[in-house]
């Protein structure tokens, strides 16, 4: 059996990513509305923009899926006319790589809530790194800067981590995920 991604893996990843790309696009105006309140409350929904990587990885469970999903979702948001234009791709690559890195550290063998939340946080940190150049966030007054960082990482855990994990748990119950996952030890045992 080949180790790389098969066409099935790719197609499922990309389609899931495109669905999230549409959500990413809808998230833009929502984020804009919340921004008018000030005090960084909009950061509390920022984590949605990391969810494609975690959900796709939990569905397919193979190397490279998280990065591909996040880039594809960003590309989707971009071609649907996302407000951040071309910079979306840059954020997508950064966030995807960060999530991928966490899954790689655990050798693509752990699919539990803890690792997923960690991947969300990594994506959050990557996005903050790009914002350091883009938005000069270190030039915000300290309390405001800290508020932003805390809110964004909190939403990374809540949305990309917990919501993503819950979605995939629900998907597992529908049986759709077993179509695309590599057979596990339990599957072989069930055959005996």
């Amino acid at each position: 059996m080949s180790k790389g991604l098969k066409l099935t893996d790719l197609l499922v990843t990309v389609i899931v990513a495109i669905i999230f790309g549409i959500i990413y696009k809808i998230w833009g105006p929502l984020y804009g509305v919340l921004s008018t309140f000030g005090l960084q409350v909009e950061q509390l929904i920022y984590g949605m923009w990391f969810i494609a990587a975690t959900v796709a990885f939990l569905i397919i469970r193979k190397p490279g899926v998280a990065l591909l999903a996040e880039v594809a979702a960003a590309h989707g948001e971009f071609i649907f006319g996302g407000e951040w234009g071309i910079s979306t791709l840059l954020f997508g690559i950064g966030q995807g790589l960060a999530a991928e890195l966490i899954f790689a550290v655990f050798r693509y063998k752990r699919f539990d809530l803890f690792v997923v939340c960690l991947a969300g946080i990594a994506s959050g940190v990557a996005s903050l790194g790009i914002d350091y150049f883009y938005g000069y966030i270190n030039d915000l007054v300290l309390w405001n800067f800290l508020l932003m960082v805390i809110f964004r990482l909190l939403s990374s855990v809540m949305i990309a981590g917990m919501v993503g994990y819950t979605i995939v748990r629900a998907l597992e119950k529908t049986g759709a995920t077993s179509l695309v996952r590599p057979a596990s030890m339990e599957d072989y045992k069930a055959l005996e």
Binding site: V12, I18, G32, T36, G81, L140, V141
Partner: protein, 266 residues
């Protein structure tokens, strides 16, 4: 979808899509390293010219597309204007502290966002995704299985929209009641997302099996229905950016609008 509207073909449509994407992406990275407000304003004008005159789309549509960008300009700059670091105080009220430095920095971030948005829209309005992926396969040697996955996924979007409408009708027929407020949002999210995702996964799986049967995962030396190449217009685009960006830079140095030459603090 943007690419299904009618439009006139301009020279921007004829540029090699991979080349255009590469230029736009490099410009995007360059813009991150511009800290001079005057330069970035001139830069925006250079990009805006392409948007206003060369996309081949009617002006009403261009106006409509630009509305969210203007809102984004306002919301992305205000946070920095109100809460940024600075010494020359202009206005203070409670937590809000507007200074000269934070004001210019806020405007700078807003303009930067506009450049990203306009570059992105110019690209999206003048590039058919099909051509982009064919070009990525031919010029940048993207593996065909990646490109065809994307193309297939884009084609599936209308089916997903239809499915969502079916779901809405089905839930209505069953008389589903949502809770009020945020919990209602969660109800809706759960009732829509899981069936849509699981159906999409199943459909993707079926489609992939069919595509594999047709050898779409593909050998390296395959033939292509669309042949993408380069033309002299690619050089025109390159020259346009080299000249306009250099001009923006020198105009910013000799004829600045604002005294702010570096918007970073300290």
């Amino acid at each position: 979808m943007l690419w299904e509207f009618s439009y006139k073909k301009t020279w921007l449509h004829k540029i090699n899509p991979s080349f255009k994407l590469a230029i736009v992406f490099l410009l995007c990275i360059q813009v991150l390293f511009i800290h001079n407000l005057n330069f970035i304003i001139n830069y925006m004008l250079a990009v805006l010219i392409l948007y206003l005159f060369f996309t081949g789309h009617p002006s009403m549509r261009l106006l409509l597309i630009s509305v969210p960008f203007i809102i984004l300009f306002l919301t992305s700059s205000t946070s920095m204007i109100f809460f940024g670091k600075g010494e020359e105080t202009w206005f203070e009220w409670g937590l809000i502290h507007v200074t000269e430095e934070s004001f210019f920095r806020g405007i700078h971030i807003g303009v930067r966002g506009l450049i990203f948005a306009v570059l992105g829209v110019v690209f999206a309005l003048t590039t058919r995704p099909v051509y982009l992926f064919y070009s990525l396969m031919q010029q940048l040697k993207l593996r065909p299985k990646y490109a065809y996955s994307f193309l297939a996924a884009v084609q599936l979007i209308p089916i997903m929209v239809e499915e969502m409408q079916n779901r809405r009708s089905a839930l209505k027929v069953r008389g589903v009641q949502y809770r009020k407020g945020f919990s209602g949002f969660i109800d809706k999210f759960r009732l829509y997302s899981i069936p849509l995702l699981s159906q999409s996964i199943r459909r993707a799986h079926r489609l992939a099996v069919a595509m594999e049967a047709k050898s779409f995962q593909g050998a390296a030396n395959r033939t292509f229905y669309y042949k993408m190449g380069f033309s002299w217009l690619d050089i025109v685009l390159l020259l346009y950016f080299i000249i306009s960006i250099s001009a923006s830079y020198f105009l910013a140095i000799y004829f600045p609008y604002f005294p702010a030459t570096d918007v970073r603090f300290g």
